[in-house]
Amino acid sequence: MHEFLQYIESYLTSDKTPGAAGNWVWELIYILLVFVGLSVSVICMNWLERKILAHMQVRLGPMRVGPHGLLQPIADALKLLLKEDIIPAEADALIFWIAPFAVVLAAFTVFVVVPFGPTHAITDMNIGILFMLGVSSLSVLGIVMAGWASNSHYPLIGALRSSAQMVSYEIAMGLAVVSAVLMTSLNESGTGTLSMIGIVQAQLAQGEWFIFKFFPLGLIAFFIFAIAMVAETNRAPFDLAEAESELTAGFHTEYSGFRWSLFFLAEYSAMIAVSSIAVTLWLGGWLRPFPNWLSGTTWDRMFSLFPGVTFLFLAAMCFYNTVRMPKHPLFRIQTIGLAGFGVVLGLIGLILFIPAVSFRVQDVFWFSAKVAAFMYLYIWYRGTFPRYRFDQLMQIGWKVLLPIGLGVLILTASVALLQPMIWHP
Protein backbone atom coordinates (compact mmCIF):
# COMPACT_ATOMS: atom_id res chain seq x y z
CA MET A 1 0.00 0.00 0.00
CA HIS A 2 2.77 2.37 0.95
CA GLU A 3 4.66 1.73 -2.27
CA PHE A 4 1.45 2.22 -4.21
CA LEU A 5 1.16 5.68 -2.68
CA GLN A 6 4.79 6.27 -3.50
CA TYR A 7 4.09 5.19 -7.06
CA ILE A 8 1.32 7.78 -7.24
CA GLU A 9 3.52 10.45 -5.70
CA SER A 10 6.50 9.72 -7.91
CA TYR A 11 4.73 11.14 -10.91
CA LEU A 12 4.12 14.54 -9.31
CA THR A 13 7.79 15.47 -9.58
CA SER A 14 8.37 14.22 -13.10
CA ASP A 15 8.24 16.45 -16.13
CA LYS A 16 6.67 14.07 -18.59
CA THR A 17 3.16 13.12 -19.51
CA PRO A 18 1.77 10.09 -17.67
CA GLY A 19 2.04 7.99 -20.79
CA ALA A 20 5.70 8.81 -21.26
CA ALA A 21 6.39 8.23 -17.58
CA GLY A 22 4.53 4.93 -17.70
CA ASN A 23 2.41 5.77 -14.68
CA TRP A 24 -0.92 4.04 -15.19
CA VAL A 25 -2.65 5.51 -12.16
CA TRP A 26 -2.18 9.05 -13.36
CA GLU A 27 -3.01 8.03 -16.90
CA LEU A 28 -6.36 6.76 -15.68
CA ILE A 29 -6.91 9.94 -13.72
CA TYR A 30 -6.09 12.06 -16.75
CA ILE A 31 -8.34 9.96 -18.97
CA LEU A 32 -11.19 10.43 -16.53
CA LEU A 33 -10.52 14.14 -16.32
CA VAL A 34 -10.49 14.50 -20.09
CA PHE A 35 -13.65 12.42 -20.43
CA VAL A 36 -15.52 14.42 -17.81
CA GLY A 37 -14.19 17.71 -19.14
CA LEU A 38 -15.25 16.80 -22.65
CA SER A 39 -18.75 15.83 -21.61
CA VAL A 40 -19.15 19.03 -19.61
CA SER A 41 -17.85 21.02 -22.57
CA VAL A 42 -20.36 19.40 -24.90
CA ILE A 43 -23.17 20.26 -22.50
CA CYS A 44 -21.96 23.86 -22.24
CA MET A 45 -21.64 24.01 -26.02
CA ASN A 46 -25.24 22.98 -26.39
CA TRP A 47 -26.41 25.84 -24.19
CA LEU A 48 -23.95 28.34 -25.64
CA GLU A 49 -24.92 27.48 -29.18
CA ARG A 50 -28.60 28.02 -28.59
CA LYS A 51 -28.05 31.24 -26.65
CA ILE A 52 -25.48 32.75 -29.00
CA LEU A 53 -27.43 31.82 -32.14
CA ALA A 54 -30.49 33.34 -30.53
CA HIS A 55 -28.75 36.57 -29.64
CA MET A 56 -27.36 36.81 -33.15
CA GLN A 57 -30.88 36.40 -34.47
CA VAL A 58 -32.20 39.10 -32.10
CA ARG A 59 -34.17 36.77 -29.90
CA LEU A 60 -33.57 35.36 -26.47
CA GLY A 61 -33.11 31.63 -26.74
CA PRO A 62 -34.04 29.26 -23.93
CA MET A 63 -35.06 31.26 -20.87
CA ARG A 64 -37.55 29.08 -19.09
CA VAL A 65 -35.86 25.90 -17.97
CA GLY A 66 -33.30 27.35 -15.60
CA PRO A 67 -32.29 30.94 -15.03
CA HIS A 68 -31.55 32.11 -18.58
CA GLY A 69 -31.91 28.53 -19.78
CA LEU A 70 -28.88 27.25 -17.90
CA LEU A 71 -30.58 23.94 -17.11
CA GLN A 72 -31.75 23.48 -20.70
CA PRO A 73 -28.99 21.03 -21.69
CA ILE A 74 -29.82 18.84 -18.71
CA ALA A 75 -33.45 18.83 -19.78
CA ASP A 76 -32.37 17.92 -23.31
CA ALA A 77 -30.22 15.07 -22.06
CA LEU A 78 -33.07 13.70 -19.93
CA LYS A 79 -35.46 13.93 -22.86
CA LEU A 80 -33.07 12.04 -25.12
CA LEU A 81 -32.58 9.33 -22.53
CA LEU A 82 -36.31 8.85 -22.08
CA LYS A 83 -37.20 8.69 -25.75
CA GLU A 84 -38.26 5.44 -27.36
CA ASP A 85 -35.39 3.61 -29.01
CA ILE A 86 -36.58 2.75 -32.50
CA ILE A 87 -34.73 0.46 -34.86
CA PRO A 88 -36.21 0.43 -38.37
CA ALA A 89 -37.60 -2.99 -39.27
CA GLU A 90 -35.54 -3.53 -42.40
CA ALA A 91 -32.37 -2.11 -40.92
CA ASP A 92 -29.22 -4.12 -40.43
CA ALA A 93 -29.28 -4.36 -36.66
CA LEU A 94 -25.58 -5.06 -36.08
CA ILE A 95 -24.34 -2.15 -38.17
CA PHE A 96 -27.12 0.09 -36.88
CA TRP A 97 -25.87 -0.59 -33.38
CA ILE A 98 -22.17 -0.23 -34.17
CA ALA A 99 -22.33 3.02 -36.15
CA PRO A 100 -22.81 5.57 -33.33
CA PHE A 101 -20.37 3.55 -31.25
CA ALA A 102 -17.69 3.86 -33.98
CA VAL A 103 -18.20 7.60 -34.40
CA VAL A 104 -18.02 8.27 -30.66
CA LEU A 105 -14.98 6.01 -30.32
CA ALA A 106 -13.14 7.90 -33.06
CA ALA A 107 -14.12 11.28 -31.66
CA PHE A 108 -13.03 10.49 -28.10
CA THR A 109 -9.84 8.53 -28.83
CA VAL A 110 -8.40 11.61 -30.50
CA PHE A 111 -8.07 13.30 -27.12
CA VAL A 112 -5.35 10.91 -25.98
CA VAL A 113 -2.68 13.16 -27.48
CA VAL A 114 -4.22 16.63 -27.11
CA PRO A 115 -1.72 18.72 -25.13
CA PHE A 116 -3.31 20.87 -22.47
CA GLY A 117 0.11 21.72 -21.14
CA PRO A 118 3.71 20.56 -21.38
CA THR A 119 2.97 17.61 -19.13
CA HIS A 120 -0.82 17.76 -19.21
CA ALA A 121 -1.57 15.29 -21.92
CA ILE A 122 -2.62 11.68 -21.46
CA THR A 123 0.36 10.64 -23.48
CA ASP A 124 2.66 12.16 -26.02
CA MET A 125 3.24 10.00 -29.06
CA ASN A 126 5.96 11.04 -31.42
CA ILE A 127 3.42 10.72 -34.24
CA GLY A 128 0.83 12.76 -32.33
CA ILE A 129 -0.57 14.84 -35.14
CA LEU A 130 -0.66 11.85 -37.49
CA PHE A 131 -2.58 9.87 -34.90
CA MET A 132 -5.14 12.64 -34.53
CA LEU A 133 -5.70 12.94 -38.28
CA GLY A 134 -5.91 9.18 -38.67
CA VAL A 135 -8.37 8.50 -35.91
CA SER A 136 -10.59 11.38 -36.95
CA SER A 137 -10.73 9.87 -40.42
CA LEU A 138 -12.23 6.74 -38.86
CA SER A 139 -15.36 8.69 -38.01
CA VAL A 140 -16.16 8.77 -41.73
CA LEU A 141 -16.65 5.03 -41.56
CA GLY A 142 -19.13 5.41 -38.73
CA ILE A 143 -21.17 7.88 -40.74
CA VAL A 144 -21.18 5.63 -43.80
CA MET A 145 -22.32 2.72 -41.65
CA ALA A 146 -25.03 4.84 -40.05
CA GLY A 147 -26.44 5.95 -43.36
CA TRP A 148 -26.40 2.51 -44.86
CA ALA A 149 -27.78 0.67 -41.88
CA SER A 150 -30.83 2.88 -41.71
CA ASN A 151 -32.07 1.33 -44.94
CA SER A 152 -33.85 4.44 -46.18
CA HIS A 153 -33.17 7.01 -48.87
CA TYR A 154 -32.45 10.20 -46.99
CA PRO A 155 -29.93 8.77 -44.58
CA LEU A 156 -28.13 6.96 -47.39
CA ILE A 157 -27.81 10.06 -49.55
CA GLY A 158 -26.86 12.12 -46.53
CA ALA A 159 -24.23 9.62 -45.46
CA LEU A 160 -22.66 9.37 -48.90
CA ARG A 161 -22.56 13.13 -49.29
CA SER A 162 -21.20 13.63 -45.82
CA SER A 163 -18.46 11.04 -46.20
CA ALA A 164 -17.45 12.39 -49.63
CA GLN A 165 -17.21 15.85 -48.12
CA MET A 166 -15.18 14.66 -45.15
CA VAL A 167 -12.74 12.72 -47.28
CA SER A 168 -12.21 15.66 -49.63
CA TYR A 169 -11.52 18.16 -46.89
CA GLU A 170 -9.19 15.77 -45.07
CA ILE A 171 -6.75 16.29 -47.93
CA ALA A 172 -6.78 20.07 -47.57
CA MET A 173 -6.41 19.65 -43.80
CA GLY A 174 -3.47 17.32 -44.30
CA LEU A 175 -1.65 19.78 -46.56
CA ALA A 176 -2.13 22.64 -44.12
CA VAL A 177 -0.90 20.42 -41.27
CA VAL A 178 2.17 19.42 -43.26
CA SER A 179 3.15 23.02 -43.88
CA ALA A 180 2.85 23.73 -40.16
CA VAL A 181 4.91 20.65 -39.28
CA LEU A 182 7.52 21.91 -41.78
CA MET A 183 7.95 25.00 -39.66
CA THR A 184 8.88 22.91 -36.63
CA SER A 185 12.07 21.84 -38.36
CA LEU A 186 13.58 25.31 -38.38
CA ASN A 187 15.85 24.67 -35.44
CA GLU A 188 19.57 23.97 -35.13
CA SER A 189 19.38 20.23 -35.63
CA GLY A 190 17.12 20.60 -38.66
CA THR A 191 14.70 17.89 -37.59
CA GLY A 192 11.06 18.61 -37.02
CA THR A 193 8.66 16.64 -34.92
CA LEU A 194 5.16 15.26 -35.32
CA SER A 195 4.47 15.16 -31.59
CA MET A 196 1.89 17.66 -30.41
CA ILE A 197 3.90 18.76 -27.39
CA GLY A 198 6.98 19.04 -29.58
CA ILE A 199 5.16 21.33 -32.01
CA VAL A 200 4.20 23.77 -29.25
CA GLN A 201 7.72 23.65 -27.84
CA ALA A 202 9.05 24.44 -31.31
CA GLN A 203 6.83 27.53 -31.35
CA LEU A 204 8.20 28.49 -27.95
CA ALA A 205 11.77 27.95 -29.12
CA GLN A 206 11.29 29.92 -32.33
CA GLY A 207 9.62 32.74 -30.50
CA GLU A 208 6.52 33.18 -32.63
CA TRP A 209 3.27 31.38 -33.14
CA PHE A 210 3.23 29.56 -36.46
CA ILE A 211 0.27 31.61 -37.60
CA PHE A 212 2.56 34.62 -37.88
CA LYS A 213 5.55 32.76 -39.25
CA PHE A 214 6.71 33.67 -42.76
CA PHE A 215 3.90 36.12 -42.99
CA PRO A 216 1.45 35.53 -44.81
CA LEU A 217 2.18 31.85 -45.35
CA GLY A 218 1.36 30.75 -41.82
CA LEU A 219 -1.82 32.78 -41.96
CA ILE A 220 -2.96 31.24 -45.24
CA ALA A 221 -2.22 27.74 -43.97
CA PHE A 222 -4.20 28.54 -40.85
CA PHE A 223 -7.16 29.77 -42.88
CA ILE A 224 -7.08 26.67 -45.06
CA PHE A 225 -7.17 24.52 -41.95
CA ALA A 226 -9.87 26.64 -40.35
CA ILE A 227 -12.13 26.27 -43.37
CA ALA A 228 -11.35 22.59 -43.87
CA MET A 229 -12.02 21.79 -40.23
CA VAL A 230 -15.48 23.31 -40.40
CA ALA A 231 -16.21 21.17 -43.45
CA GLU A 232 -14.66 18.11 -41.81
CA THR A 233 -17.05 18.25 -38.88
CA ASN A 234 -20.12 18.80 -41.07
CA ARG A 235 -20.92 22.15 -39.54
CA ALA A 236 -22.45 25.21 -41.13
CA PRO A 237 -21.94 26.45 -43.77
CA PHE A 238 -20.93 22.98 -44.95
CA ASP A 239 -23.72 21.06 -43.30
CA LEU A 240 -25.77 20.03 -46.32
CA ALA A 241 -25.50 16.43 -45.21
CA GLU A 242 -27.50 17.06 -42.08
CA ALA A 243 -29.46 20.08 -43.15
CA GLU A 244 -32.90 19.89 -41.71
CA SER A 245 -34.61 21.57 -44.58
CA GLU A 246 -33.02 19.59 -47.35
CA LEU A 247 -32.51 16.11 -46.10
CA THR A 248 -34.49 15.71 -42.88
CA ALA A 249 -31.35 15.42 -40.79
CA GLY A 250 -29.34 13.25 -43.14
CA PHE A 251 -27.51 10.23 -41.84
CA HIS A 252 -28.91 10.36 -38.33
CA THR A 253 -32.57 10.56 -39.34
CA GLU A 254 -33.47 7.08 -38.19
CA TYR A 255 -31.67 7.33 -34.88
CA SER A 256 -33.71 8.31 -31.87
CA GLY A 257 -33.08 8.94 -28.23
CA PHE A 258 -29.74 7.97 -26.85
CA ARG A 259 -28.24 6.84 -30.17
CA TRP A 260 -28.85 10.29 -31.63
CA SER A 261 -27.29 11.91 -28.61
CA LEU A 262 -24.18 9.78 -29.24
CA PHE A 263 -23.90 11.29 -32.73
CA PHE A 264 -24.40 14.73 -31.26
CA LEU A 265 -21.73 14.08 -28.64
CA ALA A 266 -19.34 12.83 -31.31
CA GLU A 267 -19.95 15.86 -33.51
CA TYR A 268 -19.16 18.35 -30.76
CA SER A 269 -16.18 16.32 -29.56
CA ALA A 270 -14.85 16.26 -33.11
CA MET A 271 -15.29 20.04 -33.25
CA ILE A 272 -13.28 20.45 -30.07
CA ALA A 273 -10.67 17.98 -31.35
CA VAL A 274 -9.99 19.73 -34.65
CA SER A 275 -9.99 23.09 -32.86
CA SER A 276 -7.33 21.67 -30.55
CA ILE A 277 -5.29 20.70 -33.60
CA ALA A 278 -5.60 24.23 -34.97
CA VAL A 279 -4.71 25.80 -31.62
CA THR A 280 -1.70 23.51 -31.14
CA LEU A 281 -0.32 23.93 -34.62
CA TRP A 282 -0.86 27.59 -35.27
CA LEU A 283 -1.88 29.41 -32.13
CA GLY A 284 0.78 28.20 -29.75
CA GLY A 285 -1.13 25.63 -27.72
CA TRP A 286 -0.84 26.33 -24.04
CA LEU A 287 1.50 29.32 -24.37
CA ARG A 288 0.25 32.57 -22.98
CA PRO A 289 0.32 35.55 -25.37
CA PHE A 290 3.83 36.88 -25.97
CA PRO A 291 5.79 34.26 -24.03
CA ASN A 292 9.17 35.51 -25.26
CA TRP A 293 8.64 39.16 -26.04
CA LEU A 294 6.95 40.09 -22.78
CA SER A 295 8.83 37.71 -20.52
CA GLY A 296 9.93 38.08 -16.95
CA THR A 297 8.28 37.53 -13.60
CA THR A 298 6.11 40.66 -13.56
CA TRP A 299 4.57 39.89 -16.93
CA ASP A 300 4.18 36.24 -15.87
CA ARG A 301 2.38 37.33 -12.76
CA MET A 302 0.15 39.70 -14.69
CA PHE A 303 -0.83 37.02 -17.18
CA SER A 304 -1.39 34.54 -14.39
CA LEU A 305 -4.22 36.74 -13.14
CA PHE A 306 -6.25 36.05 -16.25
CA PRO A 307 -7.99 32.82 -15.19
CA GLY A 308 -9.24 34.31 -11.95
CA VAL A 309 -10.29 37.54 -13.62
CA THR A 310 -12.25 35.61 -16.27
CA PHE A 311 -14.24 33.70 -13.71
CA LEU A 312 -14.85 36.82 -11.63
CA PHE A 313 -16.12 38.56 -14.78
CA LEU A 314 -18.54 35.68 -15.42
CA ALA A 315 -19.67 35.86 -11.79
CA ALA A 316 -20.22 39.61 -12.16
CA MET A 317 -22.38 39.01 -15.23
CA CYS A 318 -24.42 36.48 -13.26
CA PHE A 319 -24.99 38.98 -10.45
CA TYR A 320 -25.89 41.73 -12.89
CA ASN A 321 -28.52 39.49 -14.48
CA THR A 322 -29.78 38.48 -11.06
CA VAL A 323 -30.52 42.08 -10.31
CA ARG A 324 -32.29 42.40 -13.67
CA MET A 325 -34.55 39.43 -13.10
CA PRO A 326 -38.30 40.19 -13.00
CA LYS A 327 -39.49 40.82 -9.45
CA HIS A 328 -42.32 38.29 -9.61
CA PRO A 329 -42.79 35.63 -6.95
CA LEU A 330 -42.76 32.90 -9.60
CA PHE A 331 -39.25 33.96 -10.58
CA ARG A 332 -37.89 33.63 -7.06
CA ILE A 333 -36.35 30.18 -7.60
CA GLN A 334 -34.66 31.25 -10.81
CA THR A 335 -33.26 34.36 -9.17
CA ILE A 336 -31.87 32.38 -6.27
CA GLY A 337 -30.45 29.81 -8.72
CA LEU A 338 -28.71 32.43 -10.79
CA ALA A 339 -27.29 34.12 -7.71
CA GLY A 340 -26.03 30.75 -6.46
CA PHE A 341 -24.40 30.05 -9.81
CA GLY A 342 -22.75 33.45 -9.64
CA VAL A 343 -21.45 32.68 -6.17
CA VAL A 344 -19.98 29.37 -7.38
CA LEU A 345 -18.25 31.08 -10.31
CA GLY A 346 -16.92 33.77 -8.02
CA LEU A 347 -15.53 31.19 -5.62
CA ILE A 348 -13.78 29.40 -8.50
CA GLY A 349 -12.37 32.74 -9.60
CA LEU A 350 -11.07 33.48 -6.12
CA ILE A 351 -9.53 30.02 -5.84
CA LEU A 352 -7.77 30.63 -9.15
CA PHE A 353 -6.01 33.64 -7.68
CA ILE A 354 -4.04 31.45 -5.26
CA PRO A 355 -0.54 31.27 -6.81
CA ALA A 356 -0.13 27.52 -6.31
CA VAL A 357 -3.37 26.81 -8.16
CA SER A 358 -2.94 29.40 -10.87
CA PHE A 359 0.56 28.19 -11.61
CA ARG A 360 -0.76 24.73 -12.42
CA VAL A 361 -3.91 25.89 -14.17
CA GLN A 362 -2.20 28.46 -16.44
CA ASP A 363 -1.49 26.18 -19.36
CA VAL A 364 -4.87 24.47 -19.32
CA PHE A 365 -6.59 27.86 -19.06
CA TRP A 366 -4.88 29.39 -22.08
CA PHE A 367 -5.43 26.27 -24.16
CA SER A 368 -9.11 26.12 -23.21
CA ALA A 369 -9.53 29.83 -23.85
CA LYS A 370 -8.21 29.49 -27.37
CA VAL A 371 -10.34 26.44 -28.07
CA ALA A 372 -13.35 28.31 -26.67
CA ALA A 373 -12.64 31.14 -29.11
CA PHE A 374 -12.79 28.59 -31.91
CA MET A 375 -16.09 27.25 -30.60
CA TYR A 376 -17.46 30.77 -30.68
CA LEU A 377 -16.28 31.05 -34.29
CA TYR A 378 -18.09 27.82 -35.14
CA ILE A 379 -21.35 29.18 -33.70
CA TRP A 380 -20.79 32.51 -35.40
CA TYR A 381 -20.38 30.78 -38.78
CA ARG A 382 -23.58 28.87 -38.19
CA GLY A 383 -25.46 32.05 -37.49
CA THR A 384 -24.03 34.01 -40.36
CA PHE A 385 -23.34 32.03 -43.49
CA PRO A 386 -25.88 30.46 -45.82
CA ARG A 387 -25.41 26.84 -46.64
CA TYR A 388 -23.25 25.73 -49.55
CA ARG A 389 -24.84 23.57 -52.19
CA PHE A 390 -23.14 20.21 -52.42
CA ASP A 391 -21.42 20.72 -55.76
CA GLN A 392 -20.17 24.13 -54.62
CA LEU A 393 -18.90 22.45 -51.49
CA MET A 394 -16.91 19.82 -53.40
CA GLN A 395 -15.66 22.47 -55.79
CA ILE A 396 -14.24 24.49 -52.93
CA GLY A 397 -12.59 21.43 -51.43
CA TRP A 398 -10.89 20.23 -54.58
CA LYS A 399 -10.50 23.26 -56.81
CA VAL A 400 -9.77 26.01 -54.33
CA LEU A 401 -8.39 24.66 -51.04
CA LEU A 402 -6.25 21.90 -52.51
CA PRO A 403 -4.28 24.12 -54.96
CA ILE A 404 -3.87 26.85 -52.37
CA GLY A 405 -2.72 24.23 -49.86
CA LEU A 406 -0.16 22.86 -52.29
CA GLY A 407 1.03 26.36 -53.10
CA VAL A 408 1.43 27.26 -49.44
CA LEU A 409 3.33 24.04 -48.82
CA ILE A 410 5.76 24.66 -51.68
CA LEU A 411 6.24 28.30 -50.73
CA THR A 412 6.75 27.46 -47.05
CA ALA A 413 9.34 24.85 -47.93
CA SER A 414 11.16 27.27 -50.26
CA VAL A 415 11.16 30.12 -47.75
CA ALA A 416 12.32 27.75 -45.02
CA LEU A 417 15.23 26.66 -47.20
CA LEU A 418 16.15 30.19 -48.25
CA GLN A 419 15.74 31.64 -44.80
CA PRO A 420 19.33 31.16 -43.59
CA MET A 421 20.53 32.82 -46.77
CA ILE A 422 18.30 35.86 -46.45
CA TRP A 423 18.59 36.57 -42.74
CA HIS A 424 22.17 35.96 -41.87
CA PRO A 425 22.49 35.56 -38.10
Binding site: D92, L94, I95, I98, M125, N126, I127, L130, F131, L133, G134, V135, S137, L138, V140, L141, V144, M145, W148, L156, L160, S163, V167, E170, G174, T191, L194
Partner: protein, 154 residues
Protein backbone atom coordinates in the same frame (compact mmCIF):
# COMPACT_ATOMS: atom_id res chain seq x y z
CA UNK B 1 -6.16 -9.96 -37.19
CA UNK B 2 -6.86 -13.60 -37.91
CA UNK B 3 -10.44 -13.27 -36.70
CA UNK B 4 -10.91 -10.25 -38.92
CA UNK B 5 -9.52 -12.07 -41.91
CA UNK B 6 -11.70 -15.13 -41.38
CA UNK B 7 -14.75 -12.91 -40.96
CA UNK B 8 -14.02 -11.16 -44.23
CA UNK B 9 -14.30 -14.34 -46.25
CA UNK B 10 -17.10 -16.03 -44.37
CA UNK B 11 -19.72 -13.29 -44.16
CA UNK B 12 -22.57 -13.34 -46.66
CA UNK B 13 -23.33 -9.67 -46.32
CA UNK B 14 -20.66 -7.69 -48.20
CA UNK B 15 -20.94 -4.74 -45.85
CA UNK B 16 -20.10 -7.02 -42.91
CA UNK B 17 -17.10 -8.25 -44.89
CA UNK B 18 -15.95 -4.68 -45.44
CA UNK B 19 -16.24 -3.93 -41.74
CA UNK B 20 -14.26 -7.05 -40.90
CA UNK B 21 -11.60 -5.86 -43.37
CA UNK B 22 -11.45 -2.55 -41.47
CA UNK B 23 -10.84 -4.48 -38.25
CA UNK B 24 -8.11 -6.47 -40.00
CA UNK B 25 -6.41 -3.28 -41.21
CA UNK B 26 -6.54 -1.75 -37.74
CA UNK B 27 -4.97 -4.92 -36.35
CA UNK B 28 -2.26 -4.62 -38.96
CA UNK B 29 -1.58 -1.07 -37.83
CA UNK B 30 -1.16 -2.46 -34.33
CA UNK B 31 1.35 -5.00 -35.66
CA UNK B 32 3.30 -2.15 -37.25
CA UNK B 33 3.32 -0.45 -33.86
CA UNK B 34 4.75 -3.56 -32.27
CA UNK B 35 7.53 -3.50 -34.87
CA UNK B 36 8.55 -0.01 -33.70
CA UNK B 37 7.18 1.69 -36.81
CA UNK B 38 4.64 4.23 -35.52
CA UNK B 39 4.69 6.35 -38.67
CA UNK B 40 3.72 3.43 -40.87
CA UNK B 41 0.96 2.52 -38.42
CA UNK B 42 -0.44 6.06 -38.47
CA UNK B 43 -0.32 6.28 -42.24
CA UNK B 44 -1.96 2.85 -42.50
CA UNK B 45 -4.91 4.07 -40.43
CA UNK B 46 -5.27 7.33 -42.34
CA UNK B 47 -5.00 5.89 -45.82
CA UNK B 48 -6.19 2.32 -45.66
CA UNK B 49 -8.80 2.26 -42.94
CA UNK B 50 -9.91 5.85 -43.35
CA UNK B 51 -9.68 6.34 -47.11
CA UNK B 52 -9.59 3.18 -49.16
CA UNK B 53 -12.17 1.36 -47.08
CA UNK B 54 -14.54 4.29 -47.41
CA UNK B 55 -14.29 3.94 -51.17
CA UNK B 56 -14.84 0.20 -50.84
CA UNK B 57 -17.98 0.88 -48.85
CA UNK B 58 -19.23 3.36 -51.46
CA UNK B 59 -18.97 0.71 -54.15
CA UNK B 60 -20.48 -2.02 -52.00
CA UNK B 61 -23.46 0.18 -51.31
CA UNK B 62 -24.13 0.43 -55.02
CA UNK B 63 -24.43 -3.37 -55.22
CA UNK B 64 -27.86 -4.83 -54.65
CA UNK B 65 -27.19 -6.38 -51.28
CA UNK B 66 -30.28 -8.54 -51.01
CA UNK B 67 -29.60 -10.22 -54.28
CA UNK B 68 -25.92 -10.64 -53.41
CA UNK B 69 -26.84 -12.33 -50.18
CA UNK B 70 -29.13 -14.82 -51.90
CA UNK B 71 -26.47 -15.86 -54.43
CA UNK B 72 -25.53 -19.48 -54.29
CA UNK B 73 -22.17 -19.83 -52.53
CA UNK B 74 -20.26 -22.44 -54.49
CA UNK B 75 -16.96 -24.14 -53.81
CA UNK B 76 -16.09 -25.89 -57.08
CA UNK B 77 -12.29 -25.54 -56.95
CA UNK B 78 -11.82 -27.01 -53.50
CA UNK B 79 -8.95 -29.34 -54.47
CA UNK B 80 -6.82 -26.60 -55.95
CA UNK B 81 -7.75 -24.46 -52.98
CA UNK B 82 -6.49 -27.01 -50.51
CA UNK B 83 -3.22 -27.45 -52.42
CA UNK B 84 -2.64 -23.68 -52.58
CA UNK B 85 -3.50 -23.19 -48.91
CA UNK B 86 -1.15 -26.01 -47.87
CA UNK B 87 1.67 -24.52 -49.93
CA UNK B 88 1.10 -21.09 -48.42
CA UNK B 89 0.92 -22.57 -44.95
CA UNK B 90 4.18 -24.40 -45.54
CA UNK B 91 5.79 -21.17 -46.66
CA UNK B 92 4.58 -19.37 -43.54
CA UNK B 93 5.85 -22.16 -41.30
CA UNK B 94 9.27 -22.08 -42.96
CA UNK B 95 9.64 -18.34 -42.54
CA UNK B 96 8.37 -18.47 -38.97
CA UNK B 97 10.73 -21.20 -37.85
CA UNK B 98 13.80 -20.16 -39.82
CA UNK B 99 13.29 -16.47 -39.16
CA UNK B 100 15.69 -13.88 -40.45
CA UNK B 101 18.36 -16.47 -41.17
CA UNK B 102 16.72 -16.91 -44.57
CA UNK B 103 17.99 -13.48 -45.59
CA UNK B 104 21.22 -13.09 -43.63
CA UNK B 105 22.49 -9.96 -45.33
CA UNK B 106 19.20 -8.11 -45.03
CA UNK B 107 18.50 -8.57 -41.34
CA UNK B 108 18.02 -5.11 -39.80
CA UNK B 109 18.19 -4.40 -36.09
CA UNK B 110 15.02 -2.88 -34.70
CA UNK B 111 15.52 0.85 -34.49
CA UNK B 112 14.28 3.33 -31.95
CA UNK B 113 10.70 4.24 -32.62
CA UNK B 114 11.45 7.91 -32.40
CA UNK B 115 13.47 7.67 -35.58
CA UNK B 116 10.93 5.95 -37.73
CA UNK B 117 9.53 9.06 -39.41
CA UNK B 118 12.95 10.58 -39.98
CA UNK B 119 14.44 7.35 -41.33
CA UNK B 120 11.55 6.79 -43.72
CA UNK B 121 11.84 10.36 -44.93
CA UNK B 122 15.59 10.17 -45.52
CA UNK B 123 15.29 6.87 -47.35
CA UNK B 124 12.23 7.80 -49.39
CA UNK B 125 13.46 11.19 -50.55
CA UNK B 126 17.10 10.25 -50.78
CA UNK B 127 17.83 6.73 -51.83
CA UNK B 128 14.48 5.78 -53.32
CA UNK B 129 13.55 9.13 -54.88
CA UNK B 130 13.23 7.61 -58.34
CA UNK B 131 10.75 4.96 -57.20
CA UNK B 132 8.79 7.65 -55.37
CA UNK B 133 8.46 9.76 -58.50
CA UNK B 134 7.57 6.75 -60.64
CA UNK B 135 4.87 5.76 -58.16
CA UNK B 136 3.37 9.22 -58.26
CA UNK B 137 3.44 9.12 -62.08
CA UNK B 138 1.58 5.82 -61.89
CA UNK B 139 -1.09 7.37 -59.70
CA UNK B 140 -1.37 10.28 -62.12
CA UNK B 141 -1.95 7.88 -65.00
CA UNK B 142 -4.61 6.08 -62.98
CA UNK B 143 -6.40 9.35 -62.17
CA UNK B 144 -6.34 10.49 -65.80
CA UNK B 145 -7.61 7.10 -66.91
CA UNK B 146 -10.48 7.24 -64.41
CA UNK B 147 -11.45 10.74 -65.49
CA UNK B 148 -11.34 9.82 -69.18
CA UNK B 149 -13.49 6.74 -68.65
CA UNK B 150 -16.03 8.60 -66.56
CA UNK B 151 -16.46 11.64 -68.72
CA UNK B 152 -19.53 11.81 -70.90
CA UNK B 153 -17.95 13.69 -73.79
CA UNK B 154 -14.25 14.07 -74.41
Amino acid sequence: MLIGGILVITRRNPVHSALALIITLLAQAAIYLMLYAPFVAGVQIILYAGGIMVLFLFVIMLVNVDRAMKERQFNAQWMVGIVAATALGGLFMTVYTKGSSLFPERAMPLTLEGDNTQKIATMLYGQYMFSFEIASLLLLVAIIGAVVMAKKRI
